[in-house]
Amino acid sequence: MQAKKESTAIYYLMILPGVGFIILFLGSSIFLTIAQSFGWFSVTGRSQFTLVNWKTLWERETLDSLVFSLKMGILSSIGTLIFAFPVALFLRKGGAGKRFLSSLIKIPLFIPALVAAFLILNLISYHGVVNEVLLALHIIKEPLRMLNDPFGWGVVAIQIWKNLPFVLLIVSASLASIRDDIIDAARNLGAGAFSILFRIYIPLAMPGILVSMILMFIKAFGDFPITSVAGPNYPPSIALRMRNTATLFQEWDKAAVMGVIIIGTTLVMTWLYSRLAQLVEGEKP
């Protein structure tokens, strides 16, 4: 009995640094953000319950930023997956240049997001490489506005470039776990390339696909550096608006509301992922 108590104590002691760190810095800051959004523990020293900060949720600017960030999150995650999946399939099957391609594609992983944004900026700016080449080839008559475009395609493009290796790593691991004999069995039973892709590869890699999409969504939805460099003049992303609200307008409690919105949206998306994963895996009898 005594030995069991001791081992339990040792167990808790071992997990304390990791779990304690999370509770202290993440848990408490989330708690404070939520509390501040309702007027408690305000940075000004005031602490009184109020819903006035939440009025910002119905303000046109906040809604525009929220919609813009959702759009960036969804398009970036889908776009990255569309680019990553065929490469992951190629890497799974192997062939000439597999190692070279695998190394090449990981480069963006080591470049910070802000630097990545500036690198791509040179490519897609008004007088960037892409426009100059298109002009030289007489494909366009005047430069295209790809940077700071009102829709945010520039942001999506940079997000895809920056996060492709990240998504690729997850999707590749999912695809690599599919045994060759399962693919052989499908071929043997009459499945062609498309059937194998849609009935075997995609469903079996779905947990990895969903994980990569949700992580990608969270990154792009809460993005600050890429949108601030390549995003449209209006609306700013929700993270950018949060920063501006706090530091430019000194409305920290209102910024806390936006923080809660970002956390809430992330939680909703995670819940959606787990529901989707359950649907993919099916009900247990």
Binding site: A185, R187, L189, G192, V280, E281, G282, P285
Partner: protein
């Protein structure tokens, strides 16, 4: 159902021939086993028949149709894999129906055929389970159901029982044989297990280093091995080299390392002075009684009681022979024994 013909079939990997100019004809409805040790080319042959490999030389015919470049999904074969290769994200019903869906069989017909396969393999009630929720034996039966439901021209088995425990292996191999006989589907079965091959096959193809050593029914393969490899691989055998010292009619007198023996060799052209390789089975060494031929005296090195029999390692003139005796007599290490071998029990090897 198809007749299968392999003509000079060769498959190389990195310049090395895994299958080297093999020829084989399998009749419609026949159950043929490719038997051999690891790396003998049996699985490569099977995968070439399935279309996973394109032959480097030679031809594969289903009936009269050349199949060399026909992709696996266009050949009407069905394969049972060693690992079962069930689709883990699909339930039993969808696994079995997969091949039918790929062949665009009408929904009503699909239902009928899947239901029939479920009943045939005692899987009714398991339709909604995922493969991970089934035992090894049940998974193997699902793999079988998935294979037969498409009514393939040729059924291919790649060591399908090797992941099952010994008891289940015997049970499922009987089920496979019964099912194949009932449906009459041409079947090619790959195994390294000689007992399995002997129990299940119409004919056995013994392979070694990419070549076919011998083809024959189980009875012939076991009792009349042509080569030392076949004699040694199928069952236990005493294999020796000796010199022919005389021949009278069909009886050869041979000076062997363990003594002089007389053996019957009706279809052989060997003459006095020739050197020959020959084999005999442990069970052909029987305890000597007055008047029996080829009397050998030896000492028991080890006696291993097996329940239904006793395995004996016997020293005869410095040579180690294996013998098998019944369980009635108890043998001890160091006992002196006398054995006899019938003249007809010896096999001359190529």
């Amino acid at each position: 159902m198809s007749r299968l013909v392999l003509r000079n079939l060769t498959k190389k990997f990195d310049g090395m021939a895994a299958v080297d100019h093999i020829n084989l004809e399998v009749e419609e409805g026949e159950f043929v086993t490719l038997l051999g040790p690891s790396g003998c080319g049996k699985t490569t042959t099977l995968r070439t028949i399935a279309g996973f490999y394109i032959p480097d030389e030679g031809e594969v015919y289903f009936n009269d149709r050349l199949m060399n470049t026909v992709p696996p999904n266009k050949r009407n074969t069905a394969m049972c894999f060693q690992s079962y290769a069930l689709f883990p994200h699909m339930n039993v019903w969808d696994n079995i129906a997969f091949g039918l869906k790929m062949r665009k069989v009408p929904e009503a017909e699909q239902k009928k055929r899947v239901q029939r396969a479920l009943e045939m393999l005692s899987l009714t009630g398991f339709e909604k389970r995922k493969p991970g929720q089934l035992s090894g034996g049940q998974q193997q039966r699902v793999a079988l159901a998935r294979a037969i439901v498409t009514e393939p021209d040729i059924l291919l088995f790649d060591e399908p029982l090797s992941n099952l425990d010994a008891k289940l292996r015997v049970q499922v191999r009987v089920e496979i044989r019964e099912m194949q006989k009932r449906l009459g589907i041409t079947s090619i079965y790959v195994t390294h297990d000689q007992d399995e091959a002997l129990a299940i096959s119409d004919r056995i193809v013994v392979m070694n280093q990419g070549h076919i050593e011998q083809v024959g029914d189980p009875h012939t393969i076991y009792l009349y091995p042509k080569t030392a490899f076949v004699a040694g691989f199928i069952g236990l055998a005493n294999i020796f080299t000796g010199r022919v010292v005389g021949r009278s009619g069909d009886i050869l007198e041979i000076e062997a390392p363990f003594g002089r023996v007389r053996m019957a060799a009706s279809n052989s052209t060997v003459r006095a002075g020739d050197t020959v390789r020959f084999s005999f089975r442990p069970e052909d060494m029987i305890l000597y009684r007055e008047g029996m031929p080829n009397r050998l005296q030896g000492t028991i090195l080890y006696a291993i009681f097996m329940g239904d029999s006793t395995d004996l390692f016997v020293d005869v003139k410095g040579q180690r022979l294996r013998a098998r005796a019944g369980n009635a007599v108890k043998f001890n290490d160091g006992d002196s024994v006398e054995f006899s071998i019938e003249e007809t029990a010896f096999r001359l090897l190529e």
